[in-house]
Every structure is written in structure tokens, then in C-alpha cells.
């Protein structure tokens, strides 16, 4: 870079780097602190002043993992993966209909889909709760799978459509001239080309459903409770279990944190429903 070659350019680069890193570390600090607390013993985590230097221990992580946490974690996995698969199964054909072979009033259909994403949960909460109660689906992970699918499907349709639009139309024309059937068209042409789109959509669906709390807290109690519900147990102040709390919070956050970090590029596109690439 020309600007950093000159001494003043270098100095300003160093200055702004320091400022930038300070800001970033302020934002990252709570995450770092969560990790650190998780590796402490309980007395170290609940000391005043806080313990800064300590010998890390895996004790609390082991306790959380060997205790009652795993079923919550597994429920979260079932709800997230199940609903993500459903979103892909329902969303891909819909996105195809909107992108490749546009139906009439495509804009209206798109508008309709996304408006349901921003319908507050207040809109449908009570009837869904009553329905789940009558169908004996309360505290059943299947109810969460269905609800998370509802939450993520509009996003999935938009996102998949934005990826489908990038496929050159000639490819489909060529397939059609060859006499390829609809299924063939989907499997042989669409799926391989939008593999990145499927990944981005899955990522966003996983993030939203894994972290979801409102429906989880109202529709489940014990059998189907997910990871965030496990964390609720810590607010009722049953003693000072800060290290255990931090270890559990770390484990509960890990899947989404890793997925988001690995797929950073897809994150922004997914969050804006394909509008920003």
C-alpha cells in the first residue's frame, strides 16, 4: 500500500490499529471472560477481587457434561437440525418456483413470506399454545421443530432464491432442450450449483433455532427443554455456581459460535436475506 509506505502513513496505521483493537477487545471481553470463568474452580470464580491468574481446570466442564446438561443439548440439536432440514425441503422448491420459473405476482409472494417472518410471536403465540396443548405436544420436541421451521422458512425461501437467481438461465434452457425432467433439473443442476446457498441457509436457520428462547421456555418444561432452558436454572440463585454457569454457557454457545466463525462470509448474506452479499 502506498499510504503505509510513508512514515506518517505507518504511524496512523499503528494508531488506528491500537484504537481498533481496544474497541474490539471491549466487545470480545465478555466472551473471553466466560471462557476464563469456565476454567476456574468455584472458589476462584466467586472470589473478590476476581481471580486473574489461576491454573485452568476442566473440572466444571466435566461436571456439566456428566450431569444433567446433555439431554438439553441433544434436544437443541434435534430442534435445530430437524427444523433446518424441513426448511430446506419446503424452501428449495418454493425458491425454485420464485427464481427460475417465476410465477405471476412473484414480488407479492416474496413479500408475503417475509412479512410472516416479522409477524411478532405475539400474533400466533396463544393459538399455537392451545393447539399444542390439545394435541399433547407441549413439552414435545416435535412442537419446537415445527415452530422453528415456521420462523426460518421465510428466510430460507428468500435466501435460497437469491442464490438460485445467480445460476445462469442458459443452464436451465439447455437442460430443457435436452428433455430433462423437473426432478432431473433439480437434482443434477440446481443442487450442486447452490451448495453454498444451502450451506448459508442452514447456517442461519441453525443460529436462530439453536439460540431461540421464547418458544422453548413456554412450550417445553423438562422432557423437551433445550440448552437455553438449562441456563435458566442458574438465575434462580441456587448458590454461587459461577464457574459451572460459565462452563455451561460456553458449551451451549459453542456450536453457533463455531459455525458462525467458519461461515463468516455467508453470515452477512443470510442475516439480510440475500440483500447484501
Amino acid at each position: 500500500m502506498i499510504s503505509s509506505a510513508s512514515p506518517t502513513g505507518l504511524r496512523s496505521k499503528i494508531l488506528w490499529s491500537v484504537v481498533g483493537w481496544l474497541v474490539v477487545l471491549v466487545f470480545f471481553f465478555p466472551v473471553l471472560w466466560m471462557w476464563l470463568e469456565g476454567f476456574k474452580t468455584e472458589p476462584q470464580a466467586a472470589s473478590s477481587p476476581p481471580t486473574i491468574f489461576f491454573v485452568p481446570t476442566l473440572e466444571e466442564f466435566q461436571q456439566v457434561l456428566s450431569g444433567d446438561f446433555p439431554p438439553f443439548f441433544i434436544n437443541s440439536a434435534i430442534a435445530s437440525i430437524g427444523s433446518t432440514l424441513l426448511v430446506l425441503i419446503l424452501g428449495l422448491p418454493a425458491a425454485y418456483a420464485l427464481a427460475i420459473r417465476p410465477v405471476k405476482r412473484t414480488q407479492d409472494v416474496l413479500f408475503f413470506f417475509i412479512s410472516t417472518r416479522f409477524l411478532p410471536f405475539a400474533a400466533s403465540l396463544v393459538p399455537l399454545y392451545l393447539l399444542a396443548r390439545d394435541l399433547k405436544l407441549l413439552d414435545n420436541i416435535f412442537a419446537l421443530v415445527l415452530i422453528y421451521t415456521t420462523i426460518n422458512l421465510p428466510l430460507g425461501v428468500w435466501l435460497l432464491r437469491s442464490f438460485l437467481l445467480e445460476i445462469p438461465n442458459d443452464l436451465f434452457e439447455a437442460a430443457r432442450v435436452d428433455g430433462a425432467g423437473f426432478r432431473h433439473e433439480i437434482l443434477r443442476i440446481v443442487v450442486p450449483l447452490i451448495a453454498p446457498g444451502l450451506a448459508a441457509t442452514s447456517l442461519i436457520c441453525l443460529i436462530f433455532s439453536w439460540n431461540e428462547f421464547f418458544y422453548a421456555v413456554n412450550f417445553t418444561s423438562s422432557v423437551a427443554a433445550t440448552a437455553p432452558i438449562f441456563l435458566v436454572g442458574f438465575i434462580s440463585g441456587r448458590g454461587l455456581f459461577y464457574a459451572k454457569l460459565a462452563a455451561a454457557a460456553t458449551l451451549a454457545s459453542l456450536p453457533v459460535l463455531l459455525a458462525g466463525w467458519i461461515a463468516q462470509k455467508q453470515l452477512i448474506r443470510g442475516l439480510t436475506m440475500g440483500a447484501v452479499k
Binding site: F27, A45, A97, G260
Partner: protein, 317 residues
């Protein structure tokens, strides 16, 4: 985007038995195109639209699940109570305060940090990676960490750090409940704003900025006249999408303050939770739901307009 742009010849077979008329082929083709849309469409209608109609219906009834036989037509009573009931007005006000302050602060911070990450600094990639962590952390986990390990007046890090300044042992969450909720939500949403605004900044042609500098524009002038207009749609998009999420804030309130003290941090979603799942007042909860929908629709309309305008810009490129 329109269907005339893609000429699709009907490929459905004419098996030879009889020549299909042009109209029937066209009709069949239309249905073939709609068919893949149908499952998703039906699913969304079944789980959002029909329940919403039921919500409107229930909102006209006085109905408490804990009182058997209390299902009675109540007309607009539930809505009348919305206007007179103190907790509900507080909740509306809290929702507005929370949403506006979180969005305003996180947009400003997000813009500043995005600008930093877009300039010449060391370790951009790692900075960005660390920066998005607060957004990815499970919100319940994040709120819990803030409350118990950072802000806790006895063992929290912040009160201990502030002790030398005479501010130790301050119970921040209890003394300033709304500020605490706003702080945690800003921590979570700033990375979101930063990501969107950074994408806008990176779509900018650096040569134009160089040219402006050659022409003698100061950094501030260049930012105001060139950069800001360019990233404005991205800021708008971030603010509007963000506000649609922040309006629904529930996790951090539940974990940090449980809506209290009193009703100081009760927003609409939290009030709904209290009315529906602590009081089991189905009629009143439904009326709150209807009002929440109306409020959200206003914001969402603007959000969608912005979204579409960005799509049009993308299409023109």
C-alpha cells in the same frame, strides 16, 4: 424479474393421443410452476395466518385458562383495558425506549467500528472474527454472563474494577435496570450493524476516495459527501432489520431483570409472557398480540421497502 423475461416453452408431452389446446397447456404450465411453491405456502399459512385470525377472535373474548367456563364474549373490553391499564402503557413505552436506544447506539458504534475495520489496520480478519462473537453467543448465555460474572455487585468484574473510583459494590442491574438491558442488547447488536455497514463500505470504489483526496477534500468531508451517502441504504437496512428483532427482545430481559423492578423493564413480549403464561389470561394476551402486530407492521413496511430498493440496486449492477 417478470415472467416475460424468461421464455419457458411448455415441455409437457403431447403423447400423440390428442393435441392439447394452447390454453390447456398454458394452464397446466402455470400449475406446474405454482406446484413447488405450494407446500411452503400452505405451511406458512397454517402456522402463522390461521393462528393470527384465531388471535383476533380470542381477543374479543374474556377467557382465563385457570377459570373453567370463563370463555365469554367481551367485545372490545380487552382493547379498552389496553388503553387504561397502566402496565400495558408502560410496556409500550419501554418497548419504544428499548428499541430506539439499542438501534441508535448500535448503529453509531457499528458505523464507527466498520469504518475502523475498513481502514488500514493490522489484523482486520481477526478483529472481525472476534467482533461478531457477541452476536453469535446464545443470548441467554450472554445475559447471564453479564449479570452474574461482570455486573454482580459482590463478585462481578466491573464493580471490582470500579472500586478505586468509589463506584464499587454498585448493583448496576438493580439500580439502572433499563440501562443494563440496553447495554447488553447494544453489545449483541453492534456486531450485526457493523457487519452490514462494513459490507456497504467494502462495496465502495477506493479510487473515488483517492480522487477526492487529490482534489483536496478532508477525510471528514470525503466521509460525509461520498462514503455516507453510499452506505446509507445499508445503515437503513441494518437499523430496520435490527429494530424488528429488538422489538421482540425477551431473552435478556428474562435473564437480567425479569421485567422488573416493578415493571421498569417490561416490554410488550415480556408482558405477553406474563399475561399469557403466568396469568393465563388468553383474551387479554390476544389483544396485546393484535396491537403488537399493528405496531410491528408499521416498522416492517419500511424495512421491506428498503430491502426491495437494495435488491433493485443489486439488479442494476
Amino acid at each position: 424479474m417478470n415472467s416475460t423475461g424468461r421464455s419457458i416453452l411448455p415441455v409437457v408431452g403431447n403423447g400423440g393421443a390428442r393435441e392439447p389446446t394452447a390454453a390447456s397447456v398454458a394452464r397446466r404450465d402455470t400449475w406446474l410452476r405454482r406446484l413447488p411453491l405450494l407446500p411452503a405456502f400452505v405451511y406458512v399459512i397454517a402456522l402463522t395466518q390461521i393462528p393470527f385470525v384465531l388471535t383476533i377472535y380470542y381477543s374479543l373474548f374474556s377467557w382465563n385458562l385457570l377459570k373453567p367456563g370463563s370463555f365469554q364474549f367481551a367485545g372490545a373490553d380487552n382493547y379498552a383495558r389496553l388503553l387504561t391499564d397502566e402496565p400495558i402503557r408502560t410496556a409500550v413505552l419501554n418497548t419504544v425506549v428499548l428499541t430506539i436506544s439499542v438501534i441508535a447506539i448500535s448503529v453509531v458504534l457499528g458505523l464507527a467500528i466498520a469504518s475502523l475495520l475498513n481502514s488500514e489496520v493490522f489484523g482486520k480478519g481477526l478483529m472481525r472474527t472476534l467482533m461478531i462473537a457477541p452476536f453469535l453467543i446464545m443470548p441467554t448465555a450472554g445475559a447471564l454472563i453479564w449479570k452474574d460474572t461482570l455486573l454482580n455487585p459482590l463478585f462481578g468484574l466491573l464493580p471490582n474494577l470500579l472500586t478505586p473510583f468509589g463506584l464499587g459494590r454498585v448493583d448496576w442491574v438493580n439500580r439502572f435496570p433499563m440501562a443494563a438491558v440496553v447495554a447488553v442488547e447494544v453489545w449483541r447488536w453492534t456486531p450485526f450493524m457493523m457487519l452490514i455497514i462494513l459490507a456497504g463500505l467494502q462495496s465502495q470504489n477506493p479510487e473515488i476516495l483517492e480522487a477526492a483526496k487529490v482534489d483536496g477534500a478532508s477525510a471528514l468531508q470525503a466521509f460525509r459527501r461520498i462514503t455516507l451517502p453510499l452506505v446509507r441504504p445499508f445503515i437503513e437496512l441494518g437499523a430496520l432489520l435490527g429494530s424488528l428483532f429488538v422489538v421482540q427482545t425477551f431473552d435478556s430481559i428474562y435473564m437480567l431483570t425479569y421485567g422488573g423492578p416493578g415493571e421498569d423493564t417490561t416490554n410488550i413480549p415480556f408482558l405477553l409472557y406474563i399475561v399469557a403464561f403466568q396469568g393465563f389470561n388468553i383474551g387479554q394476551a390476544s389483544a396485546i398480540g393484535v396491537v403488537a402486530v399493528i405496531m410491528t407492521t408499521v416498522v416492517a413496511t419500511f424495512a421491506l421497502r428498503t430491502l426491495f430498493s437494495i435488491f433493485h440496486v443489486e439488479a442494476r449492477r
